[in-house]
Symmetry: C2
Subunit: 338 residues, 2 copies
Amino acid sequence: MNVAVDAMGGDKAPHEIVKGAILAAQQFSDSGILLVGDEKAIRQELDSYRIIPKNITIHHTTQVVSMHDPATYSIRQKPNSSITRSVELVANGKADAVVSAGHTGAAVAAATLYLRTLKGVRRPGIAAPFPTRHGTCLIIDVGANIACKPTHLFQYGVMAAICSKYLFDVENPRVGLLNIGEEDAKGNDLAKETFSLLSNSHVNFVGNVEGREIFDGKADVVVCEGFVGNVILKFGEGLAMSLLSAIKEEAMKSFWAKLGLLLCKPAFGPLKAKMDFAEYGGVPLLGINGVCIICHGRSDSRAIQNAIRVALQLSKNKVGEHIVSELEKTNAPTANVT
Amino acid sequence: MNVAVDAMGGDKAPHEIVKGAILAAQQFSDSGILLVGDEKAIRQELDSYRIIPKNITIHHTTQVVSMHDPATYSIRQKPNSSITRSVELVANGKADAVVSAGHTGAAVAAATLYLRTLKGVRRPGIAAPFPTRHGTCLIIDVGANIACKPTHLFQYGVMAAICSKYLFDVENPRVGLLNIGEEDAKGNDLAKETFSLLSNSHVNFVGNVEGREIFDGKADVVVCEGFVGNVILKFGEGLAMSLLSAIKEEAMKSFWAKLGLLLCKPAFGPLKAKMDFAEYGGVPLLGINGVCIICHGRSDSRAIQNAIRVALQLSKNKVGEHIVSELEKTNAPTANVT
């Protein structure tokens, strides 16, 4: 298995990306890591290591997509960008998966354009893992598709369930629909129609899931429209950070509380790890013909290393093939509905 | 000023509702509190108090809306319900405001039907306060309207800004639009069109606000579609609860961390208060001809007391009148757009 890594994408590129790639190359010595980007910059990074794993190769490109480039512009105007070239390596069969911490919109656009969607898939969607009290819940879509139709959401349920099975070892993943009430008839038209599609399918559908129920672990997969998913992803990040810093701030006001916080510190460790995006590495864009892992812009080497692990896990388990055969099995009207 | 209180609404009704009404009657002795519900049940509660404030009166009704009743059913089939009767007291001029911890959908439906919307207002919206690092942010709408159009969102911005001014003493409230990116052209059609309406108005519009920026206090008011608002309201509640209980759980695993948590406890106090819905009392349904405060189903006496305070604050400040005159001033096309 080969993983193409966008060496120029992310706030900490290329330093942390190259470092993460080296760590992954050591960990997965039977896989190839293809570093895609400016050769000079990558070599400069590699020069600081005593031993460069043999399974690392460089693929030179001349352009970089900036965070300010609109996604479609980046595709048309920067054909030699590190993200586009990384995706092309997968399209040409030289790599099985791509990992990028760069411009999410550009990565989604390049992957959709060059890799195309899997047979039967209407729209690709990004599945992000959320820690719950009992494990991990995959929320799909968190921003690839902000014009969702019921069929898209239905397919997201099917795709993320397969992903949950192979990434988190969940045997028969429970799929829920993010909604504003538990009752069947709740929600807007999109939610109601998706409810009906999921109910009348072979998906292990557990019904509507309210925002607060995600954390109770009511479902292993929760489907929602990309706008809503993106908002809650960032909202959750902001709330958790704000809450932890408020605790710290309050505790600093008294000597005893400050001491208490110091004693508590080890307890925050596992919690922070659970909430840390670097642990998960990156989020898969599901539904395209190849594996594409999108990383947080602030990714460090550990995040990149873990993202490469996730990429290999999905590639080795042939998640794409499972998605196609699962969608073929489904009795939902995917063929005639747009 | 008179406040009609739905004595039968909420998980802890009538006990905590009556208790909260008594506390408010003592605190606001120049206002009248009208307890609406089953007279026998209310009297039984009142009998346990040595002194019943003179400004408390009972308005007998025979029906109660259950949490399982659909909103429209409750209006048609239960004309004598405590929530409908409470709203009618405002419609008939016998009360200035209504407070209910009962079925939110029924309260919104009854208020919209019997009080009607204010002149120029397209749709009422619920404005919920969120604690930020620097104060309070009103998010509107959190579930009254799940078929939002750009004009509705624009008007929510105008209405919640007035509410923010009179509830939280913010001089010139900054209004933001909840979106999935900071750039002007981001988001779905609804977001883009609302952005344009807000940009071309006299509203103190600060642009797009991402989920995580709410907590940084980037805006005093954030407008969003009711489905999204309701999801993040409940998502935030679930995440905060799950985070705090995870901290406790982790700390319980070691003696020193447990001791540390005990020492930290005073630091959690102000934080919990900040996050506690009971502190805010309830959330106003803005845009109707009268004041309507919707409380959490789990409201206790303190929440009800605070909700009555909020009801009086909005009534005394004639927030409805300010909304009408502010909407008249606006140059947004409210007249010809549905």
